[in-house]
């Protein structure tokens, strides 16, 4: 019985986090001595579908019905559950993305499966138990959950698993399912994408600003540094509460939890709620004029200094580095 992985696309393209999910699902399939079937729903080109094979899918089910071109939570959940049934898959894996978080519980309920959301590691299989580590308490801790049902749904946190290029290929098959009309009640009217910016949950590098920047007019240098590094911009809660930056940039316990390779915090003191949201960052750099700022206690690298002095110098240093790299 294969493992099934749902590979969501954004505007017909797969993001890096989806290749992470495929690689992760492949590792689960290998551990279960079985194959990996991917299911793609929407308008994805043959070239892009082939990439799923490269990262480990043995077979790809391609659902391209007109009605399913745009994401509809209820209908997509039905398609994924039907695919799991027709493949005989006991394990369904998807991304813990914004859409995945709406899908996983519905697929779980349809399949009578326990749902491990926010997974950050491969399942531990011992003594007939199936346990997974997941984020909890908004980044302040992890919980190990055991799924006791025969069927299991796992939603993987982005940036938690390395993409593995297997260099293999998959056979692509068209797949169609009859989805009941009442699954299409929610109607998509418009998608607004900010194409010029790197999305925060997907970013490898995040440059984040806090109250120390004194006002929204001073974000130019944050954006310049982010652009140079190919980073997303973020902010602390007081900054989004004050309306200096949009809520979608708020990182912390009651905002977005991020896990980039590099998190650069500028003028953020490091309140416990903010630290919760960034605890899974691989490397943390803190720039703050207060040497007693709590953020330095969790940082890997730090500069004690005024942001208005340090950041322009850092921008010059990054430019110099890029010129020689």
């Amino acid at each position: 019985m294969p493992v099934l992985v749902y590979t969501e696309n954004a505007g017909g393209k797969f993001k890096k986090s989806i290749f992470e999910v495929v690689s992760y699902a492949k590792a689960i399939a290998d551990a279960q001595s079985t194959t990996l079937t991917a299911i793609s729903i929407g308008d994805v080109s043959a070239d892009d579908l082939a990439l799923l094979g490269k990262y480990g899918a043995d077979k790809v089910l391609n659902v391209s019905a007109d009605k399913l071109k745009n994401f509809v939570n209820q209908a997509y959940a039905s398609v994924i559950a039907e695919a799991a049934k027709s493949e005989g898959a006991d394990i369904v894996v998807l991304s813990n993305s914004f859409s995945g978080r709406g899908l996983a519980p519905r697929v779980g309920a349809k399949l009578d499966a326990g749902v491990a959301d926010g997974a950050v590691s491969l399942p531990e299989l011992s003594g007939g138990k199936f346990s997974i580590k997941k984020t909890a308490f908004s980044g302040k801790a992890f919980a190990v959950v055991e799924l006791t049902s025969a069927k299991k749904v796992i939603a993987l946190t982005p940036n938690s698993y390395q993409v593995v290029d297997k260099g293999t290929s998959a056979k692509v098959e068209d797949f169609s399912v009859d989805v009941k009309e009442s699954d299409f009640k929610a109607m998509l009217k418009e998608i607004v994408r900010s194409t010029d910016k790197i999305s925060l949950p997907d970013a490898d590098i995040v440059v984040s600003g806090g109250r120390g920047l004194k006002g929204p007019e001073n974000w130019g240098m944050v954006e310049e540094l982010a652009n140079l590094l190919g980073a997303a911009t973020a902010c602390s809660k007081p900054v989004s509460d004050a309306g200096w930056r949009p809520h979608s940039e708020h990182v912390g316990q009651t905002g977005i939890a991020v896990s980039p390779n590099l998190y650069i915090a500028i003028g953020i003191s490091g309140a416990i709620q903010h630290l919760a949201g960034i605890s899974r960052s691989k490397v943390i750099v803190v720039i703050n004029k207060d040497p007693e700022a709590p953020f330095f206690k969790v940082a890997d690298y730090g500069i004690v200094g005024d942001a208005f002095e340090v950041v322009p110098k850092l921008i010059e240093a990054v430019k110099a580095y890029k010129a020689t790299a």
Binding site: N73, P105, G108, A109, I191
Partner: protein, 245 residues
Amino acid sequence: MKILVCISNVPDTTTKITFTSNNTQFNAAGVQFILNPYDEIALARAIELTDGGNGTVTVINVGDVGTEPTIRKALAIGATDAVRVNAVAHDAWFVAKQIAEYAKANAFDLILTGRESIDYNGSKVAAMVGELLDIPSVSIIKKLDISGSHATVEREIEGGKEILSIPLPFIAGTAEGVAEPKIPNMRGIMSARTKPLQVIEPVDVALNLEVTAYETPAPRGQVKLVSADETAKLVDLLHTEAKVI
């Protein structure tokens, strides 16, 4: 309009999270519990939507008697009445089953909850209730307007948003942007004491998940400080030592 708001009782955001019994139990000693911040947003929007006698807001919580201060807080903020399902909230599936059972017997036009609770962060209850009631569910909404029998919602996606039109009834998980949390006033606090709080017994649920252990993140090493004049050195460290650029 009848609105049901699902609320959760969670550790205050300032809580330092620790565990006991060989890291198998959450250490609740000395922890202040609060109304889940995202649920506060759901509640605030529900109160706005029913403003001026245009409907009722019922809050529901699955918890033991210890969650009643949080339920009273929701009543003080402005909920019409409350229901407590008398059981420890085992996990999202258990909670969703209880809420769906109650909602089936009491037709609601709209069900709201926070995008996630800040303890287990699952974002699962809304979609599970949606599936159990066979109604649309929409996760992580940033805007909610209702006109007649339809709602327009903005849903967060990576790097943008989707605008959807959804017929009532449906269930949604709310985030910042939907409403500003409301602070209870003195009249609210006084009236909360006498507002109806119904306690009902749970239905049986076939469980499929157990939390078996907890871990706290590994501590980081000592911070390496670089002087403000040595930004080039920092860039070099990030490249050669940390290997992140």
